[in-house]
Amino acid sequence: MKIRVILIIIVLLGSTFALLNSNAQSQEANFTIVIETNLGNARREAYAYYLATVLPYLGINVELRFLPFSQFVGDLLFVSPKPYGIGIVGFVGGSVIAPDFYDLYHSQGFFGDLIYQLSSEEWQSWLPNDPGSGGITQREVDNLIGNMTNSLDLLGERKQLTLQFQQMFMEQLLYDYPLLAPIGIFSIWHGLENFDPEEGTFGSAYLGAYWGNENPSDRQNNASTIAVRLASITGNFDPLQVADSETKQLLEGLFPQLLMFSKKDYSPHPFLAKQFNWTTWYNAPNPDPMVGGTIDIPYGRMDFWINDDWVWRYPNGTVFGPVTVDDVKFSFDLRTVPHTLINGKSAYQYIDHVETNATEGRVSVFVSLPRVDDIITFGDMDIVPYGLLGGDLHFANGTTINALNDTIYNPFETEEWNAFENNPVQSGPYYIDFSDVNQYKLGEYIYKWANPDFTFPNEWDSPNFDLRSPEAEDAYFFAWADDPNTAEHEKPTKMTINQFYYPIVWDFNAELSLFEAGEVDLTSPTAFGANELQAQINDPRFDVHIVSTTATADLLIFNLLDPNLKKYNVRRAIAHMVDKESLNYIIMNLQDPQDSPVKPFFKNNYYSDQWKIPFDYEAAKSFMRQEGYAVPDNPPTLPIFSSVDMMGVMDDSLQLDGLYNAPAQPEIVQSEVAETSMIQSNAWIFLAGIVILPVRMKKKSVFKEKRK
């Protein structure tokens, strides 16, 4: 009997100690993850610090690695296995007409393959067996994304598929977790009627903006002028060669484009084209000329019928001739000839060919595997005059070449192109006379005038478009002008803003003075600090506007092959620990949460936050426990902050005003000035700090094989 008692005592004692230890062990971390982002991005570093503080509450220890951006991108794209558990980065680019997830979440997509590693056997065999993901396979994910990408029925089938994907992503996939979406902030003098911040000044002018009675009297410009400061402009005004944003802004409205796209949702408006039609079928020409015939893949045809009353006009008022279908075809061909030096030609390489019918005034574009982006690629293309630049071109030394056929000489060096670059013939709602070369120097100013010969295409001329569009879903492009609810001011008959005034002032700080003095109408208050922003918000003379952008939020990109993070429930638990309301104060409480893989930019049609993951500590613990992890009552350890590769790495984005403590070397000062200027002219980019990863370019390369 005594032995039994002793045995019981021993077992009880042992169990008690074991239990105590097991409790003690629950204070240990379940696992440690590395969070990696680019050094110097204060916002992302703050997100990382936040996670390092909160994740220990789930028994997840965090080590932080802030790396130079190039090294971070290298880790994201090209290192395997990934050296991090979570990478924090955002994307810009991608389709602007409708959400397209092929690049990001399709296993054959560029980022899906390289960053998320969705094509790996390990992931494809794991996903169906992950209890948190409910048995879904990557093939099913790919199919859904493929169907979305191929659907041109934007507001019908594609919208439904997008909603379906959003639910799937949030409830079963969570390959990443989006935080807060970037926004743009700018101030404008009060009183511009019909002004639409999303459309910007030019878009609003085109839609009938004008200065009304509420415009304060201390504004210096007249009621038909919008004044905008430019830092500097180049001396080349050929739209095909201009790459800097300031000169591009100057050229806005000078050259024909087939369609005008709303900056709100990139819906097309009539412009040079008065009618537009889009059809698809599964009968594409075989890309292999040796075989010939057709193959059963989607094939698309865009038809544009152009207005016949647009004319090319020299700045002095002399008319050069009408804008024709030949100009459109030439402008496309010029971008695709092998020797051209034009930027962005790769965007056009998947357009098969272009046909014209001068009698009908029709331009037809043929595309294999058409995607929604093709409409903006072609519709947004700046058009230049074939009659001036499409024939024989002459060099000063007497050499003559043909614009499209020569493969040796650079046509931009010819006399015809030089003349065009210096003071181009134009055909748009506005024109500029560049004939005085001193006019566009620093300290000078430029006027952009309303074109008296411009005929305003105020609505689609498409009474019979339904007859040409056998499929109802193809008709959505025409909804804009035919909708009786379209506001009247969107159908103006003439330009109410008859001039844009551009003082050219390099010093960015001067912009604030010019703005407050009423000399210019726009500025970016965030570039001058929070106090200035608050002051302008409070000043009744100014209106501060917030606009959405096409960039994604910063994403917590999970390493899906990490033994712990490969579990949906763990990823979900981490998402539940993100308090976006707190995070929002990092950017002055001005951003919108992105609670879906779709960018809030698409809020009018596609974006839905109905599957959002709220901050919920109890839910987070529950998801961890479902996977067998112990959750400590208190965080077991303090965060560990690691920093690697400090050599030569300095932090630029933490700056407030860039003041140095000691005299700086001249070259450094110069680079600082340039940097400051860039930041201030794109204030929202600085604020959002989105790192540009060229989704669009990569997408094309991904589709290359597929299209072949």
Partner: protein, 353 residues
């Protein structure tokens, strides 16, 4: 039977003692007290703004025991906005330098690398009271002897739905730091992580926290881009408590203060230089880089440790936060095995009977 009944307890207690002892073993490479006779700070540091954001700034609502800010928030985690200014210069071999600004919150070190002397940072705070220190570290030289110099300032941020007046409890901490520098370790900037454990607590003794520290790769002076000809120099040791942060010598007795449960009562921080940089790598002026290591002790009311309260400071005990593993964690297997073995022994003996 009476004899056997005593064995399990003896064995278990022996195992416990063994594990506790083994956790306390330290290996010292070399004992080398740090000389810091010529420390003078020329590095100014101050807080410009504190708030939830640039548009939601706070003013201190009390100046005792330190400038104290109240952040009205019922959220579990609240992000604090800090706008700071680091001024002042020092020289190394005639080269003008700036220091490395560093934020230490509740013993957690946030090193910052910025060529600008004004910048902002965001910290995540839980509900309760937090001690935040700003430290600016630099290097000074005198007759070939390099020493770290610094300036610092501290303040308190209380996060909650209402402000509670802060009262501090005092107790003493005795400590001893044994610092070593291992010249064989050399320097490689890629290996100069900040999270290396250089201080290891050994013995926790009543109300005195006595511990030894091993400092490996204490620091050096040299250009980062060319990792040669480094001069080793010692680190600086800080003690952060509820009443701020101060520089301490390698051994002695310091009074520490606490303002409640679960707040670190003593954070020992070793900051050691890892070189300096020069244009074009860091812009201008030159900048010194520092690494850091921390060991924190905090009182808790959790059942597994003795609480620290205002009224019973002398009975307080502390547990190491990192990097050592709490000794109790190693007990499970020995105890289970011990229990099983003893049970088997007893069963065998019973069967023999």
């Amino acid at each position: 039977m009476t004899i056997f009944s005593k064995y399990p307890l003896i064995i278990i207690l022996s195992l416990v003692a063994l594990m506790v002892t083994s956790a306390g073993v330290n290996v010292f490479v070399r004992h080398e007290p740090i000389s810091r006779s010529q420390l003078t700070s020329e590095l100014n540091v101050k807080v410009i703004e504190i708030g939830r954001s640039e548009l939601d700034l706070l003013q201190p609502i009390s100046e005792t025991p330190l400038p104290t800010y109240f952040l009205n928030s019922s959220r579990m985690f609240t992000i604090l906005y800090l706008n700071m200014n680091f001024m002042g210069t020092t020289t190394v071999d005639g080269i003008q330098m700036i220091g490395q600004p560093t934020i230490i919150m509740d013993g957690v070190v946030y090193p910052i690398r910025s060529r600008y002397n004004k910048f902002r940072m965001f910290l995540t705070l839980t509900q309760g009271t937090h001690i935040i220190s700003l430290v600016n570290m630099g290097i000074s030289s005198s007759a070939g002897l390099y020493v770290p110099i610094f300036s610092h300032t501290s303040f308190i941020v209380q996060v909650g739905s209402y402000f509670e007046t802060i009262s501090l409890s005092s107790f003493q901490t005795a400590y001893q730091l044994n610092a070593t520098y291992d010249p064989n370790q050399g320097f490689n900037s890629n290996l100069a992580h900040l999270d290396k454990a250089f201080i290891q607590p050994s013995v926790i003794d009543g109300n005195y926290t006595v511990f030894n520290a091993t400092l490996e790769g204490t620091g050096f002076v040299g250009y980062l881009p060319a990792n040669d000809s480094f001069t080793p120099i010692p680190s600086a040791i800080f003690l952060q408590t509820a009443d701020g942060i101060r520089n301490i010598s390698t051994s002695g007795i310091e009074e520490t203060k606490s303002f409640g449960e679960n707040i670190p009562i003593a954070n020992f921080i070793s900051m050691y230089p890892i070189g300096f940089d020069s244009p074009p790598y860091s812009g201008n002026p030159n900048m010194t880089f520092f690494g850091a290591d921390v060991v924190s002790f905090r009182g808790q009311t959790n059942g597994s440790v003795v609480s620290v309260t205002e009224t019973t400071p002398t009975t307080s005990a502390t547990i190491p936060e990192e990097p050592s593993t709490p000794s109790s964690l190693n007990l499970e297997l020995p105890i289970v095995f011990g229990s099983v073995i003893m049970a088997l022994v007893l069963l065998i003996r019973r069967n023999k009977k």
